[in-house]
């Protein structure tokens, strides 16, 4: 390898850190997304852990759709690449060196996000760091291929912004990258299968809280889409300023989009685009994920939010809760087929009482917990509570319970937030991680 390529790689990195624009888009925007996710999904437990795949995907996508092509096109239009062509090395090797530098820049932004998530939000480190690394490399290769194509097609820097947004926005909004797939309408879930964003999120997220290695399908989809875009990008790469693309560009762009369609069709025919079967959601929660849940940031039992009375010594008779417990036992939403949803419904009762500022809120919560302990196998209850704690936005959240005397509805978002907190309080006690005072 020509030693000049190493110098070019190092200088590309150095010049990147001298550019104010690169710092803003390369580092401050990813940090902004991290903080925004922590605010929007504040009920996640552990905070941000179920979102890290999305957060990293946004950073890589931003670096690939905007960072790489902006730098390449700006240099080409200035005539830097025209000067590079006089060097005794193939221009392609300088493109590879530029891509390698961009990979390092995106990796440093991702490392910054992981560190900040840990320091500011106590997000646990990935359960499978090597799988995160593998997923990261695959996602980077794929998206940098897309970035190379954007650079080849864009006539100037403003055109990079326009073309980049054509990739970035759909994936962010309906591609399962920023807006979670679970809250997207079914048509958008199907459309997302034709875009690489959801496979990137899946490949990365599996290393954080899943079983580790993502599905081979995700990796294959990403590599196929990235390779086609990269090949078209190299074929259409222009080293001279002002040179226009001919009609053959359309053929190459069309060819680079074929894998998107193929991947979407393959995902559809293999059932990957079907909505996940909600009833069994809680059963997929593993011990490792349960062990990652934290309890030290929960509100106290006597505080305004999520109060919880001490355990009953007389079955609740002295506080009059034996009647309420009887009603709870016969309450229909507590007996739906899906045990996970039934547990969520019961916890909602405690949350509604809390939000309605019922004078019995603490004892109602204790009654619910006592009932749950008595009614479910410990293993099932553990998983169901973890599911409510980790995925507050999944399933159905009740906002009122007329049969139990709660006739005025409360806000669903608040119910989901309080339910996640109650679920952690109950789970902590069940596992002995929260000791009785």
């Amino acid at each position: 390898m020509n030693p000049g390529l190493l110098q070019h790689f190092l200088l590309t990195l150095r010049l990147n850190f001298r550019s104010r624009q690169s710092i803003v888009y390369g580092y401050l925007v990813p940090v902004f997304f991290l903080i925004a996710f922590a605010s929007v999904f504040r009920t996640d437990s552990p905070l941000l852990l179920p979102r890290m795949g999305q957060i990293l995907t946004i950073s890589i996508l931003g670096g690939a759709c905007f960072g790489l092509p902006t730098a390449l096109v700006a240099e080409r239009e200035r005539g830097v690449w025209r000067r590079y062509r006089l060097l005794p090395v193939p221009t392609g090797s300088l493109v590879v060196s530029t891509l390698a530098a961009r990979l390092v820049i995106v990796a440093s932004a991702a490392a910054l996000q992981l560190a900040l998530a840990r320091i500011a939000f106590h997000t646990p480190f990935p359960a499978h760091p090597l799988h995160v690394l593998l997923g990261f490399i695959v996602v980077c290769l794929s998206f940098l291929g897309l970035g190379l194509l954007v650079a080849a097609l864009a006539e100037d820097v403003p055109a990079v912004q326009a073309l980049g947004q054509c990739l970035f926005l759909p994936m962010i909004m309906i591609g399962g990258v920023a807006v979670p797939l679970s809250v997207l309408p079914s048509w958008a879930q199907i459309v997302s299968g034709f875009m690489p964003g959801r496979y990137a999120v899946a490949a990365l997220q599996s290393g954080f809280d899943g079983s580790g290695a993502g599905h081979a399908f995700d990796y294959l989809a990403l590599l196929l889409i990235g390779a086609a875009a990269g090949a078209a990008g190299i074929r259409l790469f222009r080293w001279e300023p002002g040179r226009r693309l001919g009609r053959r560009a359309l053929i190459w762009v069309g060819a680079s989009l074929l894998p998107w369609i193929a991947v979407g069709l393959a995902a559809g025919t293999t059932g990957r685009l079907n909505p996940p079967p909600a009833p069994a959601a809680y059963q997929a929660i593993g011990d490792r994920l349960i062990a990652s849940i934290t309890y030290d940031d929960l509100p106290g039992d006597n505080e305004l939010a999520t109060p919880l009375a001490p355990p009953f010594t007389d079955g609740g008779r002295s506080s009059g809760m034996d009647v309420f417990a009887g009603k709870l036992k016969d309450w229909a939403p507590g007996h739906v087929d899906d045990a996970g949803q039934a547990v969520r419904n019961l916890i909602c009762v405690a949350s509604i009482a809390d939000l309605a500022e019922d004078p019995r809120e603490g004892v109602i919560a204790r009654t619910v917990f006592t009932y749950l302990e008595a009614s479910y196998r410990e293993e099932d209850l553990r998983k169901a509570l973890a599911w409510v704690a980790l995925y507050p936005n999944e399933g159905t959240a009740l906002t009122m319970a007329p049969d139990l005397g709660f006739v005025r509805p409360v806000g669903e978002d608040f119910v989901r937030e309080r339910s996640a907190l109650y679920a952690r309080k109950f789970l902590g006690r069940l596992l002995g991680r929260i000791k009785a005072p």
Binding site: Q7, H8, L11, R78, R83, L86, L87, P241
Partner: protein, 309 residues
Amino acid sequence: MSVRMLNKRYGSVAAVRNVSFDVAPGEILGLLGPNGAGKTTTIECILGLRRPDSGAIMIDGIDALADRDRAKLRVGAQIQSASLQDKITPRQALRLFGSFYGTSAKAGELLERFELSAKADAPFDTLSGGQRQRLFLALAFVNDPTLVVLDEPTAGLDSRARRALHQLIAGMRTAGRTVLLTTHIMEEAHTLCDRVAILNEGRIVALEEPDELIAGSNSKVIFRTARPLDSAQLGSLPHAVSSRAGGGGWTVVTSDANRTVVGLVRLVEAGGNELLDLQIHRPSLEDVFLELTGRPLSAPEEDKESGPS
């Protein structure tokens, strides 16, 4: 360096047609031509930026078309429409470009030689036009080239910066390097170049030393007499090519002004006439250029003749 029967077409346009020339070590050859004459395409073929349709290019004994990367090792170039990143410094640029040839250690020496030491660590976007041009010249020297190609090296510079660059370029001849340059400034071509090749519509229409080109071109003898002259008598003057009346006098185009004037004096005296006024207009390189191409040498061109869409 030797170029033989070089041809390059862009679609239906023949940008370069059967161009052949040699440049010897220690020689500066100037390529002159109006916009679209094929200068930049010729240079880009020599530098390996474009592949000619046919022809041969030998640089320092290397077939530049068959072994492009090896030929590039022997060539240093300053080309138009090339630039550097805003925040790169001259020292970084020289080290970077030098590292491709294993000569990054020469950066300090080049900074000194091209009078850039004071701006060695200043970002490129803070350099003046002259400093940038000197940096591009310095970059052309990072590989200690045997052939130096300079495309409009003094374009956009003030006269002081231009003179300084002329000294640097003249020094290349002394160092025994082969230099090929294009320019739009006739004075520059006349002063710097050992020979000039004039291109028009993709062909070389003249290739000689500047003084020989001028000497081979016609002068004008402009005069007035006390009494009218017969145009038939003027046609018989020695070395006269043509004559025409105008402005109260006569203009005789001649291939040897001295002998024509002697003949004219004899003719006037023999006829009892009297010469009232006489001027000899000897041609400049600019006139030669105009005569050969039919167009004046205008402002420095961008690469208008090249580049397929």
